[in-house]
């Protein structure tokens, strides 16, 4: 093929452009479908979240609410204003404590409880997940230092 230098370069650029556009499209589609929103119990209580949608729930574990039956755990997550019962099957992280911050991944069930598929572990027990700190501050429950 007797392509000129210019044609060759254009061909290469066009090919690369197509791949880039595909990659960008892929990233944008995935961003729309695959992100998980974070909510506090109060925000969930407003009732706009369809049951079954994957979300993250964050707040404090209510003192005295954690019941354990083997691998089945039930605890109440609250943000001062609203409480929400969460179910989790499995081994909770070492740093899961009553009265401390928690972030749970899962979905709201038809009966208004939360079914957690994953409860996030934190390395440091003085650590407060940033979203939890923010939402607790919004609710006026916690006035810990920034961040």
């Amino acid at each position: 093929m007797a392509w000129t230098r210019k044609q060759k370069r254009l061909g290469v650029i066009a090919g690369l452009g197509v791949i880039l556009v595909l990659a960008a499209g892929l990233i944008l589609t995935a961003l729309r479908d695959q992100i998980v929103f974070f909510y506090s119990p109060s925000e969930i209580a407003e009732g706009e979240i369809a049951p079954g949608t994957p979300i993250r729930l964050g707040g404090l574990v209510l003192e005295g609410s954690w019941q354990q039956n083997g691998q089945d755990n039930v605890f109440v997550v609250h943000d001062g204003a609203t409480e929400m019962t969460a179910h989790f099957t499995g081994i909770l992280p070492d740093l899961f404590r009553e009265g401390q911050g928690v972030v749970a991944e899962g979905s709201v069930q038809g009966d208004g409880s939360f079914l957690a598929t994953n409860v996030l572990a934190k390395h440091d027990e003085t650590y407060m997940p940033r979203e939890v700190a923010d939402s607790l501050r919004d609710q006026g429950v916690w006035q810990g230092e920034e961040g």
Binding site: I19, G90, I91, Y127, E131, G147
Partner: protein
Amino acid sequence: MTIELGHFALILAFVLAIVQTGVGFAFWRGSGLAERFVNQAAILQFALVGFAFAALTQAFAADDFSLRLAVEHSHSLQPMIYKLTSVWGNHEGSMLLFVLILVLFGAAVAAFGRSLPADLKTLVLSSQGLMVAAFSGFVLFTSNPFWRLDPAPFEGTELNPVLQDLGLAIHPPLLYLGYVGFSICFSFAVAALISGRIDAAWARWVRPWTLASWAFLTLGIAMGSYWAYYELGWGGWWFWDPVENASFMPWLSGTALLHSAIVMEKRNALRIWTVFLAIITFSLSLLGTFLVRSGILTSVHSFASDPTRGMVILTMLALFIGGAFALFALRASALRSGGLFAPISREGALILNNLFLSAATAGVLVGTLYPLLLEALTGARITVGAPFFDVTFGALMVPLLLLVPFGPFLAWKRGDLGAVTQRLLAAIIITVVLSLLVFGFLGFPLTLAPIGLAIGIWVMAGAIADLADRAAFGRTAWRQSLSRLRGLPRTAWSTAIAHFGLGVTVIGVVCASAFQTEIVTSMRPGETAQIAGYSISYQGEEEVSGPNYVAERGTFWIDAPFFWRDRAVTSERRIYPASGTPTTEAGIRTYGFSQMYVQFGERFGEGGRVVRLWHKPFVLLIWLGAVIMAGGGFFSLTDRRMRIGAPAPARRKAKPVGAGQ
């Protein structure tokens, strides 16, 4: 006293770096004196920062609790190795380690870069000096590890128990050697842009540093992943967490840089792009430092963080990246593109490699930063989790991995795809046969897993075919082929080794994700659980105490299938009284490349325990592959060929040439 001397040494290094930068940038043009000065300064900085670091380490080793940092992060009962690693198991100390690696690379260029042209070398060291000044200033003014306490307490509050592990001794230094090592590539890029020396020779000089940093970063990431896997006790090895992405993005763009520098060196093409990548790679390292240290993103690996320090890092990030890109904008237009090539050629293949790697980097970057952006714009708090990365990253890696075996076979300038496919025929046949066997063994499932395995096999077979083809196996006598194989340039070997390692990792990732089995159950002593052909019986628990912790230890007996020996395994739930922190030590037994992972949980009923069991088939291949890749990188550094061919009489430094020739 030693601590004050260390502090003083760091201040001296800081001042010296400022002077070095000033002198270097002012007199780089043809002044032998300036070159000698920045050279000496770089080596002296290393001695000074090394001394500062040693002084700090000495204080930790000697339990000097008048040192604030030691009080906050060490304890007299910690085993010595963890006292030493405590030095960098915290923000201040790890930033000092950061500076130490910066000066280490500066000193290495000063010592081994004798063949570099004087002006380029002066500029490289000045640019490196600027970063040393910025980061040692950052350490001194915002994160000073040398502050004392008066009166001194008798005891420290101990290193975070999760970090009391050999992983902390190995992972951060390796990771920093890679991560911060790319600073020298950045400095080379800055020097190239200022001096206008952007040519094949530049690529040859920058490649060994890229290779070394890349290989260290590969090891560092792999080590970090394995550490998280066994220590955090969740059985996962990669979470697409912001902190992990922070080190993975420089790795991806560093890998692209590694490949584009080959094109620049051999064919004098892709010059603008290569310089751009060198800047981007270290910029991503800086961005990662910012993300990790500012705590702006929620991470499963939480670090003590401080928003004001984050702001300082962000400012430095903006200045360095902004400055480099301003230079880039000024210079890049003056560059004319180099060698011509057809779309189907070695150059074309390497461009595709770069394209996919850059797109993957961009995808990871978008996923990592998008929560920040969305929160700033709409106030919504979101998480971009593993599904996003699995989809985007996975989709970009599949074509890249399929193309990997073709690259080394294509000729420079103009390749012949038909001929290459013919030479790859053996690899194609092997891949198809093995994949069909695997597929059949799995019972022809309608999942992506066998395809993933086929891709892994293809990459490995391609790497072997590359070596076999170069040695002309099947075209000449065995003996001759063997001797040709031995005589192949080390760079050819290293390409094949690294690509082979990539295939190994792919297989590990696919197997560990697709075929792992997990059960959570409650067990009483004497009870047995079945998983993946193994039967695991719970023997009972006992109280044990370590040097600085007490633990409940559960003992399990594993009856393994096939020819594996039956063995006991223990898992512990520890409490570290000094900080009151609980941790879980998973019990892990290795069978070939597979592992049985036992996690001892809460009490349940009378004498019962919740127990979590994972069978992780071929999980070790993930990290083994990474080690092989890094091995390929280090091996190519030993290649002598290019040192002889270097333009100036190269002595020790110019050992470039990674892949291909």
